[in-house]
Symmetry: C2
Subunit: 353 residues, 2 copies
């Protein structure tokens, strides 16, 4: 989607991906190597002017190796921060951005003492997570007692874990922001996200009843983070809403699934604004074009004709093969009213099981 | 632009182009051969399910050769009709669609008699054109007398010419329409076109003062033509407005430059609707998203930052090298009012000389 947004700007692309079946495989002459092949990374860097990434589990070592040869945006420091839940929550807290209570588990000398101390900080129930490489709800477990926590620690591997306070949220939102090299910043309207089995299913803008005060607070948090990291590109922050207040859950230093609706739903898409940011062009307007929702296509594709027959529906298939729980596309719906939008989303939910 | 619209629908592309520097060269694994290499055309057909074209000077022989192996849309008969101004105007006239008066020159046994007879039909001044391969105002000459016509006939090659009545038009419009395999038809709003030195410079929708009766008449003409040709895909018809009535100038059996604004300016772009049509999917809404204008970038590219700094401007560069009078990109402007739109277009005209 970055390339599709970039070709009209006159840009040319090369992709580095370990998977020869990656969605971008058809879109340019690409390189398929693992991130640990330093020679391949160096050759890749030589062939391009500028490097970005859209996958937050790119090894930081690879990003730094590339950054020594060509500019890499967003900055590898942001990538590093986002890859370790302890570092991430520590950095957010240090900036005064609320997060769930958290404590490390599994890296000290006395596991029992760590467990007791962690529970003292988070209370129960709590959520045990791997510090690294978690996504779509993988590598995490809700625990209600010390005994359950002990079992979960053993199951998840005993080290590099984090215990987080269980958040009884009323809603989940995400804020997409962008900052260019010159420091210009823009924000998209907050979107409300609905997950299913830990996987993002639906994102929806909140017009006309947007939570005005939450938008301003979310933007102030994002601004702190963008400046602290001297950030360049699109940044997503996921929030829980607890008793009407925002609690930051995690950040993603990249274009984000909860912003895919911007292709049709905003004046400038997150993909184009990411490219504008890393090329230091003026950022584009993030204004909504109507009432917008997005539905992820998970597992297998729906009948194309049925989707295109629904007014306001815009289909995006990624060219990925079908597999349970795999996000293989999304549908954006753009309508004039919330009622029309909800009707279309409900019709689409029935055909994209 | 067809490919960029098609990738999100899950489509894969191969391009056949004689020019290895064609804009699509970066977007897929392509074949670069002349249209007369039958073996190459046959191999191309074997590698795809369906074939379309976006250049009306593709030789009809190549289109027919391909069509014997795979479906080719729009139908080669439409391509053939559009390539010969005599056949084209004859077909339009036969359907009752008004055209300028016209007469062939240069294919009879007595050139003097042909010239006299042609002038009798068209009057003077008149426009002498080559019957084939004309575009962007090339291969045509306005003549005010029989002597000028004689000179022009010699200059343009003496055969395969057409003399057309000179049309003193108040405006030029084009109508984009689409028809899918099942016969579903849709129309875009008429756009007003402004040419500069024979080359399309600006296309602009006419909101809120759209010429309502002209829209209905243009649609009725298009409907006749779409059905007559059993047409599949996007069809453009260019009209002159003379004394408030529409006179058809020419047709283009393809996505058309005067419809490039639909990428941002309509709910569904002409490119997506062309693909929907040839795949027999339901056609998408052609509703305007606001006040829309398009400016062609001719010759050399403007500074990207300056373009992107203008509110509502969306840049499209085709990856073509600079050359005088060559269309190398376009800019769409989408705004809330005609005033804002005109201001933005004027600002853009200053930076895209």
């Amino acid at each position: 989607m970055l390339a599709l947004a970039g070709y009209p700007l006159g840009l040319r692309f090369q992709f580095f991906d370990p998977d020869p079946n990656a969605p971008a495989a058809h879109l340019a002459d690409n390189m398929f190597h693992t991130y640990s092949e330093e020679d391949a990374l160096a050759r890749f860097a030589e062939g391009v002017d500028l490097i970005t990434y859209e996958f937050e589990n790119v090894p930081v070592s690879a990003a730094r190796l590339l950054n020594a040869r060509r500019p890499v945006y967003p900055p590898p420091a942001a990538l590093e921060m986002s890859q370790d839940r302890i570092v991430e929550k520590g950095a957010l807290s240090a900036l005064g951005i609320p997060t769930p209570a958290f404590a490390p588990i599994g890296n000290g000398s006395d596991l029992n003492a760590e467990i007791a101390s962690a529970i003292a900080q988070t209370g129960l129930p709590a959520v045990l997570k791997t510090r690294r490489m978690g996504y779509d709800g993988k590598g995490q477990r809700v625990v209600a007692s010390e005994a359950e926590l002990r079992d979960a620690v053993n199951d998840l591997g005993s080290s590099d874990l984090i215990l987080e306070g269980f958040i009884d949220f009323s809603a989940e939102y995400s804020l997409l922001s962008a900052r260019n090299i010159s420091g210009e910043i823009c924000f998209y309207p907050l979107v409300r996200n609905v997950h299913r089995g830990g996987i993002l299913r639906r994102s929806q803008t909140q017009t006309p009843s947007a939570p005005g005060e939450l938008q301003a607070i979310a933007e102030s948090y994002a601004q702190l983070l963008l400046k602290e990291l001297d950030y360049v590109g699109v940044l997503a922050i996921e929030f829980f809403v607890v008793d009407g207040a925002l609690v930051a859950n995690e950040i993603a230093p990249r274009v984000h699934n909860s912003g895919h609706w911007t292709i049709e739903g905003a004046e400038t898409s997150q993909f184009e604004n990411h490219l504008r940011a890393i090329l230091d062009y003026p950022l584009g307007s993030t204004r909504l074009r109507g009432c917008v929702g997005m539905l992820n296509i998970i597992g297998s594709p729906p009948p194309v004709s049925d989707v295109l027959g629904i007014p306001g529906a815009h289909l995006h298939l990624y060219g990925k093969s079908s597999r349970p729980n795999r996000k293989i596309g999304h549908i954006t719906v753009l309508r004039d009213s919330e009622e029309q939008l909800n009707a279309a989303l409900e019709a689409l939910e029935r055909i994209t099981v």
